[in-house]
Amino acid sequence: MSRPQELIILREVYFAYNQRPVLFNINLTVWEGDFLALLGPNGAGKTTLIKIMLGLLRPDRGEVVVFGSAIESFQDWHLLGYVPQTATHFDPLFPATVYEVVAMALLSRQNPWKRRPKVEREAVLAALQLVGLEEKVKVPIGELSSGEQQRAFIARALVHEPKILLLDEPTAGIDAETQHQFYDMLYNFNSQKGITIILVTHDIGIVNRHINRVACLEGKLIYHGRHEEFCRSSLFKELVGRGDHVISHQH
């Protein structure tokens, strides 16, 4: 069996906001097929690390390699789908339908003079079908529930068929049952469609049964490894001891 490809490599990444260090010499590799949970308390640098992987922030020191290219020269951003922490913080009166929200990502990369409306429509509807929103095509995005909005943003990230999906605390403010459905959906994307997933969260319990790799961040990377090993580690026991709700269940 061939070795999975290294999709993102961080080497000795250091980052500071206005001389205040946030990330210290992070070494992290994301492999093809990973469902990686990026864990850590508030202020641990999880969002900063995701933004560095996406090229939205430049590290002060260190190296970032994405799909084999140094991030400075990387061009194929459509290979990465991103759902930011603030995705649902948009103006609820913004006059865009669910269809327009998903299509904006797909059509942004296309030459408008060479459009193929039928193919585009099928791609948008297929992405909406993946997240179970095919009935909401014409509904204004502000009229959806938080859980549905988050699924619409996942559809927008999936519509251009990325290899990696990066999600920053995607279920904040969503009820527990919807969260479970949401993570089951992500698990299916990972296991059935082979999409590598990087998920930022500070709630280990809710994602414990979906992930296969864990990275724990507190400024420094204090753990990076396979999920089963993480469950046997003293850090895991410490998290359980701290009262985090942990369900140990493997698919």
């Binding site: 939205l56 990465l80 991103y82 930011p84 913004f94 006059p95 339908t97 904006m104 408008p112 990230a157």
Partner: protein, 268 residues
């Protein structure tokens, strides 16, 4: 209504008004959703300083005002993106400096007369062939820009972080949008005047946003509201002998009010 195409000067006024009105409405939808409604007001003050500078140097006002407006628009953008200032702060700083410079230059040249007043209040019925042609070319450029970059602009407006992560050249898009706004304001000052130009940029777009359920429909309704305001406003001003610019703006406000009441009835 025949009064609108009986005379050459009215035809030019109608064409220039429609061109600036529709171009402004399209730009306005993006500006309003990006919370940059006051950029028209701020740039208006800066353009005032450009006209004062032209009068001071005894040059033609249009090219000087255009250069000052474009440079200021780009500087506002730089302050926002590089210095981390909020756009309303950057606009307020440039707006005050622009107005102060304008007042200083006007005082020095001692010509706060007809020339300057015509730019502050506009005179749509006095637009010449060149100004009409320039307005039509500008409207064409705005429409082509928005049509070509429609989805990128929508992405940038709706979700700037995701648009950047997606690899869109967001700074370039923002710069083009701001420069086109500046150019539209300069050409529009002859039509409705600098003092009322913000209303042409904002009110029809706000009307479109009140009524539409999709972004595409918002753009079309904003352009429709602008065109209706120009046609009816111009006709009313000619038949009732009213000032054209103010009548156009008030008609557009009536449309906004109607759309606002209609939306409230739908919501409550």
């Amino acid at each position: 209504m025949s009064i609108l195409w009986e005379y050459g000067f009215v035809q030019r006024a109608l064409l220039a008004g429609l061109a600036i009105g529709i171009g402004s409405a399209f730009l306005g939808v993006f500006l309003l959703l990006r919370r940059e409604a006051m950029i028209g007001h701020g740039l208006g003050h800066i353009i005032f300083s450009g006209i004062a500078l032209a009068l001071f140097l005894n040059f033609a006002p249009l090219p000087i005002a255009l250069a000052v407006a474009v440079l200021a628009a780009l500087a506002i953008l730089k302050l926002k993106t590089r210095a981390g200032l909020h756009s309303d702060t950057a606009i307020a700083i440039f707006s005050s400096v622009g107005m102060s410079m304008g007042i200083l230059l006007v005082t020095l040249v001692n010509r706060f007369g007809v020339d300057l007043l015509s730019y502050l209040f506009g005179d749509i019925l006095a637009v010449n062939k060149t100004e009409t042609a320039l307005s039509l070319v500008l409207a064409f450029i705005v429409i082509i820009f928005i049509a070509y970059f429609y989805h990128q602009l929508l992405f940038l407006t709706f979700a700037p972080d995701s648009a950047r992560a997606f690899g869109l050249k967001t700074e370039r898009l923002e710069a083009t949008l701001t420069v086109l706004t500046a150019v539209t304001l300069v050409l529009g000052m002859k039509i409705v005047g600098l003092l009322l130009m913000t209303s042409i940029l904002v009110i029809p777009a706000a009307t479109g946003l009140q009524l539409a359920k999709s972004f595409f429909a918002s753009c079309l309704l904003a352009a429709g509201a602008a065109a209706f305001s120009v046609i009816i406003g111009l006709w009313l001003s000619l038949t009732a002998d009213l000032p054209a610019a103010a009548t156009i703006v008030l008609i557009s406000f009536v449309l906004f009010l109607a759309s606002f009441l209609r939306r409230r009835r739908r919501l409550f």
